[in-house]
Structures are given as structure tokens and as C-alpha cells.
Symmetry: C2
Subunit: 148 residues, 2 copies
DNA sequence: ACTAAACCTATTGACATAGTAGGTAAATAG
DNA sequence: CTATTTACCTACTATGTCAATAGGTTTAGT
């Protein structure tokens, strides 16, 4: 399954922010770009998507940066993905003859509709905090310094 | 979730072939294009993908067309999707620093790897026959004429 | 021989992606 | 007050994929 770098980097940056922002502090795009080896300029286009969705907040100026706008158990993976790509979780738009009750509608709802439902159920039921825990469990040792 | 028309039409055409090819007969691209309201020329590019994957066979010349190369319970939805789009079921390719054990690898495997695994499990465990049955169950009445 | 079918290749317009680049606004340190 | 550092905004570009359209070739049946 192909995922755009915009979504990949956005998710990665959010995890980075969660890990490296102590209480009260923030994380700059330069920090993230350096740690995760991403173009800083590109990140500067991606992070506003998460801010506009209300998931992170920004602090301008010296010592500024980004931090989570609320605790990680207060939003879901679905929230994040929707912020980064408004089509990734959307139901397939029906091309051509819409809802004529023909084969096309049947196939689309039975296959793509079903897959889409399962995917949505999965990401809606997983909070960002759940995800961070799972990451931590899968790579023990790496996360020991951080409280998440 | 966005799905290309190539995959959508290919799947639809295969269902059409399964429904409308009686034993021994075949279904032409003109038939499918007319019934499903798809460009015939475009279909002519898509169906060879299914043929090359061994799912259908083609008969050239007058009264020619396509038919299933084996019964619908002998191949899976995964086979079909792979034939139509070799990246749709593939694991995300890691961009940039590969497998460095950093955050990127962890996030990718915990989220995209997981989603990809679930998707693959779903389509590998569903035979084409299973899918046809499900379509039939979801739209009773429409399929009564056909033996599938 | 004629016709109808699959098959093959090239071309095109539209769109999204993955950045790069340059400048603006705001906040802080000195 | 000024300089610096940060987020923010907009424009541009190169690349690739999609979704066809088009035209010609091969094969097989009548």
C-alpha cells in the first residue's frame, strides 16, 4: 500500500514532537528535520496541517516550535491521518454512473467499502497514545528516556 | 481510500466475465464495456493484466473474448489486486535512511506495516468465489439468473 | 476474403507528489 | 531597539502516474 511522504513524515514528526517535547517546551522543525532526516522546508508545509486540525500548537519566535495541543490519549490515529490527507480514509468516490444499482455499485460497496470500513474502524479505535505505546513495546530500549 | 479506475474497472470486468460467461462461452470487451459503461479501449489495456497473471484466458478472432482460466474458488482477491496494481498490496518502501532502527522504521512498521498486514490477510483469505457470493448476498435478486 | 475479436504501442491532458526557494510575520534575547 | 530565530505563506518546478484516446497488427472463425 502506497503512502505519500507527506503522510509518512507528518506522522513521524508528530511522534517526534510527542517524544522530545518536555512539559512546557516545544520542538522546532529544525530539530525534527535533523533527527528524522527530512527536508526542513518540506516539514514546514506539513506541520501546519496538523496545527490547523488542532492536534499541535505552534510557538513563533526564538525558542519557539511545536507541542501537542492536548494529551495523546485525547485524539485518534484517524484524526491524524485525516489532517494529513483528506482522501486517505474517505470512501471511494463512484466514477461515472452513480448508484444505479448495477454491478459497479455492488462490487464497490462489497470490496472497497468493506476495506474502507475496516481501515476506519482500526484507526478510529486507536488513540495516539495507544500507538505510541505500541511503538514502544515493539522496540524496547529505545524509548526508555521518555515518559510516553 | 483512493483506488485507481484501473483496479476498479479490472475487478468489475472480472466479475462481469464470471457472471456472463456460460460454460464454454466467452465475453468480449465490447460486451463488458457496454454493460458496465467503461471505455472499451481502456478495458483492452486492463484485461491483459489479468490474463498475464493467469486468471483469465483470451480467445482471439470472431466469437472470441475472455473467460476464467480456472474456477473462481481457485484464486484469491489478492491474486486479482496484485495483477491489477503491483503496489497496492506491497509493503511501504522505506524512503531515505533504510532500516537504521530509528523512529522512522518503528513508526512505519507499527502503523503502515500493520495496516498492510491486515489488508493482505483479508484479501488472501477471500477467494474470488467468496467475493461473488458476498456480492450476491448483499444484492439479492440481481444475480438470480446466474449460477455463481 | 471478410469480419470481429484480442493485442500492442504511442500520445496526450490532467493531476498529485515531493520537494525547492524566497520572502513575511511574530516573539524573544540582548 | 535591534537582531535573531522561529513559524508561516506563496510560488514554482520536475517528475511520475492516471485515464484515457487513437491507430495499427495479429489471430481466428464464417
Amino acid at each position: 500500500m502506497r503512502v505519500s511522504t507527506r503522510v509518512e513524515y507528518g506522522m513521524l514528526a508528530l511522534v517526534d514532537i510527542a517524544m522530545y517535547s518536555e512539559s512546557g517546551s516545544s520542538v522546532s522543525t529544525a530539530d525534527i528535520a535533523g533527527r528524522e532526516n527530512i527536508s526542513q522546508k518540506y516539514l514546514e508545509q506539513i506541520l501546519p496541517l496538523l496545527r490547523q486540525a488542532g492536534l499541535i500548537k505552534a510557538q513563533k519566535g526564538l525558542k519557539g516550535g511545536y507541542y501537542l495541543s492536548r494529551s495523546a490519549d485525547k485524539f485518534t490515529m484517524s484524526d491524524i491521518l485525516n489532517a494529513l490527507d483528506n482522501s486517505i480514509l474517505e470512501e471511494m468516490e463512484v466514477t461515472g454512473s452513480v448508484n444505479d444499482g448495477g454491478l459497479r455499485d455492488t462490487v464497490n460497496s462489497c470490496l472497497w467499502g468493506r476495506i474502507n470500513s475496516e481501515l476506519n474502524r482500526y484507526v478510529e479505535n486507536m488513540s495516539f497514545a495507544d500507538f505510541l505505546s505500541e511503538c514502544r513495546n515493539n522496540t524496547p530500549g529505545q524509548w526508555d528516556l521518555y515518559s510516553i
